[in-house]
Amino acid sequence: MAAVLNTPTVLPLHSFLAQKGERDLLRFSTAGSVDDGKSTLIGRLLHDAGGAFEDQIAAVKASKINRAGEGKVDFSLLTDGLKAEREQGITIDVAYRYFATPRRKFIIADTPGHEEYTRNMATGASTCEAAVVLVDVRHGPTDQSRRHARIARLLGIRHVIVAVNKMDLVGWSETAFRKVVNAFEGAYHVPISALEGDNVVAQSAHMPWYHGPALLDLLETLPVGQEAQTAFRLPVQLVIRPDARFRGFAGQIAGGRVRVGDMVTALPSGREAQVTRIVTYDGDLAEAVAPMSVTLVLDREIDLSRGAMIVSGDKPESARRIHAQAVAMQHEGLVEGREYLLRHTAQVVPARLIKGSLPMNGIGEVELEITKPLYFDPYAVNRSTGAFVLIDRLSNNTVGAGMIDRAARAPRRVSAARQAAAWLRKAADKLEQFSDGAGI
């Protein structure tokens, strides 16, 4: 007998109101192909936790495509939303699916596993706190599962969960499970059978040797929301000035917390000011934390415009040359010597790749030189102020993404330094047209 499935709990109205807003959110990525049982796993999570509707399941059952086998439901049709994907039986681009349990809300970013679509895997994983990497217990880790784990770690995802699938096909063998655990590093390993439901939503009765949580249990209890614990960072998206009496700086808090009365520093000017009001549509606040969107009013007139940053606590680093881990995401790769537009927090600045060409889908170390000092935190400390994307000036396409680890050393050779200085002067002249940034 397979594991007992939980039916989704329907809460009565009063308990819904009692918990309103209290459920937090976990985003996790999945990757791989039908063969790993990825779609079966997602289908099971959605189905068992009430994230798929009857008419959608019925449409899947009625479809002329079915790769799951006679009499079984091909759940991949739920997430492979493009015609080309359903016809070819591959995932090309990331799909987002949603479900909730009484403890937590979830967003699944279901990403492609093929190398060709690495950029779409990175797109899906970039906002996740956890990654569920599927491994078929009979075959061990594949290239796709290794790539998923690698990109997840690169993007700073701390919770890499290795779901060792198809345990039913190896007689629920602990030895087979241990072999995968030893071969493939991860923060957690869970032996499951997506097809039978063992250790997905409910604990399996077939594997008494496994004492850890079922996958959903684990996903419900992973810690989230730690951006509030770093130093305060507010990249300014917009200066709000409805009339002469009001001047506020609006943006989404990228780290830490701010209280009325706090002394803050405006970057790049370095001027200090005191926070007099934290304004929102729903009334003023005494305190705000990441990732809330707020408008700050300061006690004195200081120069602050879009792309600037208001900070307190430990100062961010400042450098014209940065060292980063980057991914190349278009056919032309990332080319040493080429100039790109670098989008970081709410600003766009010209930047030149001075070290580390990368081919399409390549991942590696690069150095960039920027026309003016960039204020950042290492990506490992703060994802929002440590991440950037590179935009091609001609095609306008996003061609690369990067995670800053540190300031890079200044060039040693004088001639190189002179060249760089000349280039910087030239680029600085062009700066004015790039005062824009992200989000409303």
Binding site: V10, L13, F16, K20, G21, F53, E54, D55, Q56, T79, D80, G81, L82, K83, A84, I92, D93, V94, A95, Y96, R97, Y98, A100, I107, R119, N120, A122, T123, S126, T127, L238, I240, P242, F246, G248, A250, Q252, V279, T280, Y281, D282, R306, L341, R343, A346, S384, A387, F388, V389, I391, N396, N397, T398, A401, S435, D436, G437, A438, G439, I440
Partner: protein, 279 residues
């Protein structure tokens, strides 16, 4: 979004998602006003309650409202009965939207679409690029990492921006409840005159034609999502307040857009419409 584009607008359909989006825009610029106009694509098959609500509410909050209709198609008598739903929708919604954006010179349009609505929408970026003809290329979308949205476009191209991408139907109703957002009364149950067509309840309006053998009846019902009068069904429901709707939602076993005839008129329906520029 506002900083990245020279002429943005908010696509206002008068539905619940648009209403939430509008509230978010008010919040984003508070205490300032929303710095862009609202654009409503009027198919001329809208419910009268929607038009009444639209005019009253936008006036109340002091927003600038623009309305665009594909007059040529209306003059030619476009209707779903003769053209079929697919062609009618293309003329009055997709064509009108693409032309409307061009007419006013908008290079970015905020919309209330959500990824949980439909499986091709589940694939869409928050900043979704459209070529000079307003078309979407789902196989070649820009990478979109973190919240570093790339709004750089070439002349003639435009971007659809979907801030509610990651909201679910439940989230929308919860927000409507917590923020007391006013809605068109069509969302709330009351006795209405309807015809039952292929299991859907189609409310009777002057422009809804009876098919042979159909008669009207009175049913207590409400709309779960709003579209054109002939192509959007109501559901049987007693839920007459936001809270009772939320309660009902938790027990739903069928999806929100099931009542939208246009999603089911061909395989991969929504993807095809979206490629051509549908919202």
């Amino acid at each position: 979004m506002v900083a990245q584009f020279s002429r943005p607008c908010l696509l206002y359909s008068i539905g619940k998602d648009s209403s939430v989006l509008l509230r978010l825009a008010q919040k984003a610029f508070y205490p300032g006003k929303i710095p862009f106009p609202l654009l409503h694509i009027d198919t001329t098959y809208e419910y009268p309650e929607m038009i009444e609500f639209r005019d009253r509410y936008t006036r109340e909050i002091g927003a600038e409202l623009l309305v665009y209709t594909n007059q040529e198609a209306v003059a030619a008598g476009a209707n779903p009965y003769d053209l079929g739903t697919s062609k009618c929708c293309h003329q009055l919604r997709t064509r009108a939207l693409v032309d409307g954006l061009k007419h006013y010179g908008f290079d970015a349009a905020l919309g209330g679409a959500r990824r949980d609505e439909e499986k091709s929408r589940a694939k869409e970026r928050v900043f979704s690029l459209r070529d000079a003809h307003g078309q979407w290329d789902p196989k070649n979308q820009r990478p979109e990492l973190w919240s570093l949205y790339n709004g750089h476009i070439n002349k003639g191209e435009s971007v659809r921006v979907f801030p509610l991408s990651n909201w679910t139907e439940f989230d929308v109703w919860q927000y409507i409840h917590e923020d007391s957002i006013p809605l068109v009364p069509l969302y709330f149950a009351e006795p209405r005159e309807v015809v039952v067509r292929e299991g859907s309840l189609i409310p009777v309006q002057p422009n809804v034609k009876f098919l042979p053998g159909e008669v009207s009846e009175t049913q207590v019902c409400r709309m779960r999502s709003l579209g054109c009068t002939p192509c959007t069904g109501a559901i049987r429901s007693q839920a007459d307040s936001v809270l009772t709707i939320i309660d009902e939602l938790k027990e739903f076993k069928r999806s929100e857009r099931e009542n939208r005839v246009i999603d089911h008129d061909q395989d991969g329906s929504m993807e095809l419409k979206k490629r051509e520029g549908y919202f």
